[in-house]
Symmetry: C2
Subunit: 434 residues, 2 copies
């Protein structure tokens, strides 16, 4: 029999750790991703908030696997899986497999309001992060040029929707930068007057954490100046702002950190999906009826002890490694085993010196949680250079309160201001408190 | 009399050094730029070749001027100057001045072949650099997936047009990365087989340098594997490649480093321009007939000792500072003085350990020129953080031969391959030399 061919869709945590776990298996491995890089998503919000460079949390997948001789990397976009014929269709070709691991993750869901996407971008890719960074920085530029107090207020109002870890981290970072990093840079506005609102439909922030940690996280957020709106749903988002539980909030910048939708390729597997489009896998992570197809990471719904395995890096890493073991057992003609998720805890940071950590028996908040958070995130970053540069960036920000990546990179819209009749710009008039 | 208002268009070297030179002058200063950042253009080619992050050579203009209380920064795009009424029109407003300094620089010229722009991007902005980086990295990804030897050859052929400092530095860096940094990353291609061609219409590389240094630079380029085509003009660029002096070269990636065109706002000044659209300024850098309007940097044509002041950072810095002095003299009702450019030398790097330096009496080539080049470039970078990170990036690249920013960041085109009938992709077949 020819060497079995394992095709892995997606070079995130699930796909990459699966490929690495197969390094010494008697298989050929092909990792397919539409990006050239593995992205360390837990730090993506730091790119969106001008702390880190995109390249510091990304690394070429083929560079990570360069020494693994049984693996190759293909930059391509998979559109469909034909499980009956064991074939993956790409936008520009196809590829056959003996074993398939689908690790294409999830994206955000606007709960049917797809029109909100352009007004309230989510945070899943480097491109999203650069877009949000640009909007955030442009808001201050626009505020500096606004004539009316009303326009200035809207420009300096930032709304983050969804108070899971990403939303909490975003809101904390936005508040911190506004209060600390913009210092003396502006003449007509005081960046410290910026409002950051965090909106959550459920009744507490970090709803998947212990209630005691939610409380501590909220207290930290409030201390940073974030306005937390709990138990309130967003009913509308338009050019001028958002409507939250009936209340209208004028805001130029809105960020979406709510809702999960499985990657669309799941629909072509011909198996059961949950409402969010994620695959209901068998206990061994395979697809029901196709023991040679596995789904791991955010795209899989795995129930354990009556609750779902959380969509975090550890879930994907352990799932990817489990799928690799199952493939090796199948080749050795051994039976499959159920996946057992080992909960290593949850972490979320809320700003300088502040985080919450749920490490099973140990629950931390404040500085030590923050230190644990920083250590673990550097540890799981791939690549020595990335680790070094992230640590340096953090140290620099820590001591200077500055953000090193205040770069508006993309084509700038020709106008920052809303339609107005040729406004005249006055020469420098320092603001009152200067 | 009210405090005179100095408007500076452009936050490059000329504009920024002019603003700083006015720090203690009895004026109000407004710096207008359509970007939020000052860009250190001499290192832009290192962003295009995946060595440096965009933010490491860019810094928010308002951060640089944060402590200069008589200055403010406006992110806006100027479209027209009305010299009679001393007013600048912006896309979204207007602003009046008492003194105007136009430092909007130059862009590349395609000599009337504007259709070439999309095929052969030039290198002037961060966006250009990220675009070229993406094309360069995608070329290797496409080559890895190409079935035909012909397609692979075209994908791995890089043509740089124009052998001034930017073209020489680009070609050297592209060759170096192909030979060294891609190492074991690919399975079906050998990145070392990439061809880098440098095309120059004149009869030597670095035509503005001493002939002896041109020879040394060319020797270094050839040693790196660059094919130098001198005295040959590009007559066509299309989807499949370029035509150089009648010869057809199939190439997927083409970079434009030739031609200069003054920023379009110059045309609204109502004064004489040269063929490239640059302003023919008076000896004091003012615009003939308007002593209160100055043009500095790449947009100005300044003749000295029978030859033009070169379009380099030093020319812009000294010009900006001169314009500031002239404004202060005018306010003090003193007469104007001619601009005297002090030539501090020219530098160009050709890769690891190799550069050429023309420092007046001292002419260097090789390692010491390279050391001088690195020292001066770090020195003129603005911002401690940028200096630190650039030095670290260089050290890391120097010792590892790697490039830290191999990131394809923008939306990836859905297909890497040219139209083909559903090509099947074979599982891993290591290349011959593995």
């Amino acid at each position: 029999m020819a060497t079995p061919h394992v095709v892995i869709l997606g070079g995130g945590f699930g796909g990459l750790y699966c490929a690495k776990a197969l390094a010494h298996a008697p298989v050929k491995v092909t990792v397919i991703d539409r990006q050239n890089h593995h992205l360390f998503q837990p730090l993506l919000y730091q790119v969106a908030t001008a702390s880190l460079n995109p390249s510091e949390i990304a690394i070429p997948i083929r560079y990570v696997l360069r020494a693994q001789r049984n693996a190759e990397v293909l930059m391509a976009e998979a559109t469909r899986v034909d499980v009956a014929n064991r074939r993956v269709t790409l936008v520009d070709g196809h590829i056959d497999y003996d074993f398939l691991v689908v690790a294409t993750g999830a994206t955000h869901s606007y709960f049917g309001n797809d029109a909100w996407a352009s007004r309230a971008p989510g945070l899943k890719t480097i491109e999203d992060a650069v877009e949000i960074r640009q909007r955030f920085l442009l808001a201050f530029e626009a505020a500096e040029r606004e004539d009316s107090e009303e326009g200035r207020r809207a420009a300096l109002t930032f709304v983050v929707i969804g108070a899971g870890p990403t939303g909490v981290e975003m809101a904390g970072a936005l508040a911190e930068i506004s209060k600390k990093a913009m210092g003396q840079d502006f003449r007509h506005i005081d960046p410290r007057s910026a409002r950051v609102l965090l909106v959550e439909g459920l009744d507490r922030v970090l709803p998947s954490y212990e209630p005691a940690l939610s409380e501590k996280a909220e207290a930290h957020l409030v201390k940073l100046g974030v306005e937390v709106l709990k138990g309130r749903r967003v009913t509308d988002i338009d050019e001028q702002g958002v409507t939250v539980g009936g209340e209208r909030i004028a805001a130029r910048t809105v960020v979406w950190a709510a809702g999960v939708a499985g990657s669309p390729i799941a629909r072509t597997l011909g198996v059961g999906l949950d409402r969010a489009g994620r695959v209901l896998v068998a206990p061994d992570l395979s697809v029901p009826g196709h023991g040679e197809v596995f789904v791991v990471g955010d795209l899989a719904v795995v129930m354990q002890d009556g609750k779902p395995v959380p969509g975090v890096a550890q879930g994907a890493i352990q799932g990817g490694e489990h799928a690799a073991r199952m493939i090796m057992r199948a080749i050795a003609q051994e039976g499959s085993e159920p996946f057992v998720y080992e909960d290593r805890g949850s972490l979320a940071t809320i700003g300088r010196n502040a985080a919450v950590a749920d490490l099973g028996r140990v629950k931390l908040a404040g500085f030590w949680a923050w230190a644990v958070w920083a250590f673990i995130h550097v540890l799981f970053l791939i690549g020595f250079r990335n680790r070094l540069f992230v640590m340096l960036s953090w140290s620099w920000s820590y001591f200077t309160y500055q953000r090193g990546v205040r770069l508006i990179q993309r084509k700038v819209p020709p106008t920052l201001l809303s339609a107005d009749d040729d406004p005249s710009i006055e020469p420098p008039a320092p603001r009152g408190d200067a």
